[in-house]
Amino acid sequence: MSGPAPASDAVSPRLGARAFGAHAGRAGRGGSAWPRRRWRVTPLGVAAALYFALVAFLAVGYILVPALRTAAISLDGRGLAGLATYAGFLSDPVNQTAVLNTLAVGAASTLTCAVVGIALAVYVRFFCTRHRRLLQILLMSPVMIPGVVIVVAFMQLYGESGMVTRALGALLGADRPLLSFGGFGGIVFVITYTQYVYFYLNVYTALQYVDANVVESVRSLGGGMGRVVRDAVLPVVRPAVIVSAMTTFVSAVGSYSAPALIGGTYRVLSTQIVLAKVNYDMVLASVEVMVLLAIGVAATALCSALARRYRVAAGARAVYWRPDVGRSRVARGLFTAFVAVQLVVVLLPVAVIFYLSLMSTQSIMTEVFPTGLTLGNYEAVLTNPRTFRPLGNSLVMALAAVGAGLALTLPVAYASRKGKSLPAAVLEGLLMLPWCMPASVIAIDLINVFSGPSPFSLGRPLIGTFEILPIAYAVMALPLLLNASRVAVGGVRENAEEAARSLGAGPARTFAQVVLPAIVPGVLAGAILAFVRTMGEYTMSALLYGVHNRPIAVSIVTTMQEYQIGVSMAYGALVIALCCVLLFAILRLDAARLGVEDAPRRRRARGAGGAKPRGVDAPGCAEEADEGQAALPPEK
């Protein structure tokens, strides 16, 4: 967060530095350490130092060491001579195909996501006149619905025996399926309609920063609409496009559920990684992990460089631009139709899941449009302890993961609220590392370290235990939670803590009465988002689950593959219902936060003036988008 420069006349070390004892000094931004001689040993300081040491220990043990271990294993334990394993890997045509396919899926999905996301953003921003808020919520829904559920729903719609496929077949009297949903096209289709949200959200937000005064300046200087787009709109939107492209690409190259479930024989790196792991070839798996990671990191680095190059600062008093677009009825009609189609494609899977969850499996298997309402599937899931267990497992594991993640990230975010010291920066960097790690990478990293005893797990292997999945989920959730916490902590009014102190409140009371009320909505919104992501996480779940902790995402897929489609759909419906309740909660929280938001400070921080109609609903994350960062981390 690039907050406002302190308005006070001198850069001043701030209150509270001492409270964190040995956790070095962080003072105003850009500053260096608090002078050593002023450290005082206080109980709070000692506790804080111990706590941060623990966070560092865990971050090193569960993020850094596993990543390094994977790198070492990929070299086959032979140091640099092991680079031969990479040469061998890349000379095999099968692997070449996998790498090229991965890149192709990434590039194609990014392109299609860009088209869909940008079109939707432009429509909602400029053309939509009624029900805008509802439309926004519906368009944002893929964020809140686990990807694997949507993949399964797409299979029920467009798969070989899917409803749409069979309906088309029956309609046209063809004897073989007319739609071939799978392979490259299928993967890209699924990724597009689960991941367009980054483009949509970021571009929508960016469009709000197009300054009407700049547009009018272009016009008054003789520029036409083309000039306006080129000189007034593009510079503002470009950073959002770059960042969205990065997030989408990283997410697409790492995606597993789509290629695994509908890719058929189409190989990509993530499916190859799982294959290698299943075959106990950890060297190959590690090499593939390193290649996948390299692709992700390279894309991230490239886009970050581009984003820096095209960075823009919003004008001091931006006025929101609303172009006059009502003139061409034809264009408007076509655009509306296009958006309606998108909306149907986005919402159809959800509808189908609820529909099929109310049908008996037998009816689903035999009829194009199953009939005969039944609650049998729900009964099976909720009353049979064995079928209920995956749901219970996932709830417990997601809660544990998010709780642990919050406990690790919130204190770190709070401690560096007034600028950070070097150790704090390193710690935050460690906690952000999983941001660029696809889920399969995290899972293989953990397997490489914790399949045997490790000092970080107090000497006992973790693979096969219940804990390993919550740990993996927590690792994946750390960047999202840390970001949400940072944004929330950054939203505490400048000097509010000091005001409370000067009015007689001690540090604990100040935190409880001034800091906490301000950060709870943002932190909670981030936590809910992380919870939903965890509930639906499929890749790591598939790689790490065991008899003790089979999660719901795995059960959704396996029950479907075992032709208990009704049960699978009931699982999916329950997960979606839970997510909808939580989405609603986030919207409420966000509204609550907007009500108390400290507008002047935020406005200064963003460099944009004037009250801004805020888009829904990147809970706890929208601020990030403004600053050229992805609002949401890539979904794994």
Partner: protein
Amino acid sequence: MADIALESVTCSYGGAPVLCGVDLTIADGELHTVLGPSGCGKTTTLRLIAGFLRPDSGRILMDGADITHLPPEKRRMGVVFQNYALFPQMTVAQNVAYGLRVARRPKADAARAVADYLDLVGLADLADRNAMELSGGQQQRVALARALAPEPRVLLLDEPLSNLDAELRQRMREEIRRIQRQVGVTTLFITHDQQEALALSDAVSVMHAGAIAQTGAPREVYEHPADAFVAAFTGEVNRIPGAGPDGGEALVRPEALRLAAEPGPRALLTGRVAVARYEGFATRYEVVCEGAGEGVAVLRVGVLMLNDGRSPVFAEGDAVAVERA
């Protein structure tokens, strides 16, 4: 109420010294202004007194007791921040009541105090509004009431008017003065606005590069600045070589000079009117004087003469003599 003393206080930040030996005494009940440019250390001084910072060396005394290491919540000092720092989740009344609540003042007592202080700042009818719905000036008053309600021993104001527009600023300035007199609380006021400082204060300390350059009553500081910096920062000033008491440089305000057609016995310089600007109540002249002293080729002197009907009027290009008024 209390008096405050800083004794050779130093404070550094990230290795760079911010305060290098500040001595400052604020007498009981006075309104004391620290005036200085950005970066001179005036806000750091306030934060040290409030307890948000601790000095590298030196002592801070309140009523003679060393409070250097006392945490802020034990000091009973009311602070008004530049950005007001109201609690956004509380109403106006809850904001004002906060300090009383922390001090566990009986409810009825506290309610009365809140009403009194809201009355004092003229916001009695907005008590139940959310603090964030108010205008800048109103938020400013809430912040003031919140700081005063717990009856602090010292009131600290950190550039409280800098976020207000010019007119409101003027009004709030008067208001703060009135309230401070009424309550009688020892007050430290930080500003970079010399007019504000001179108009408001019992005493002014001009700060420069981490040290106090001069302390005194506003009139004393303005009319007898200790050095060129104080002179220039408190208003316009001419530096006239050779006119000082011991033949050195004299620091003379434009309004302390006047123009005459003929050089008389009190003439300091002669020159030509380069600019004559009519400003209604007065006319401002800029006179170019040549050969004003050794090593000075051309000296531009500013002169301000009231349009009181008795002073002579000059036009650009006129040859004039500059003398002390």
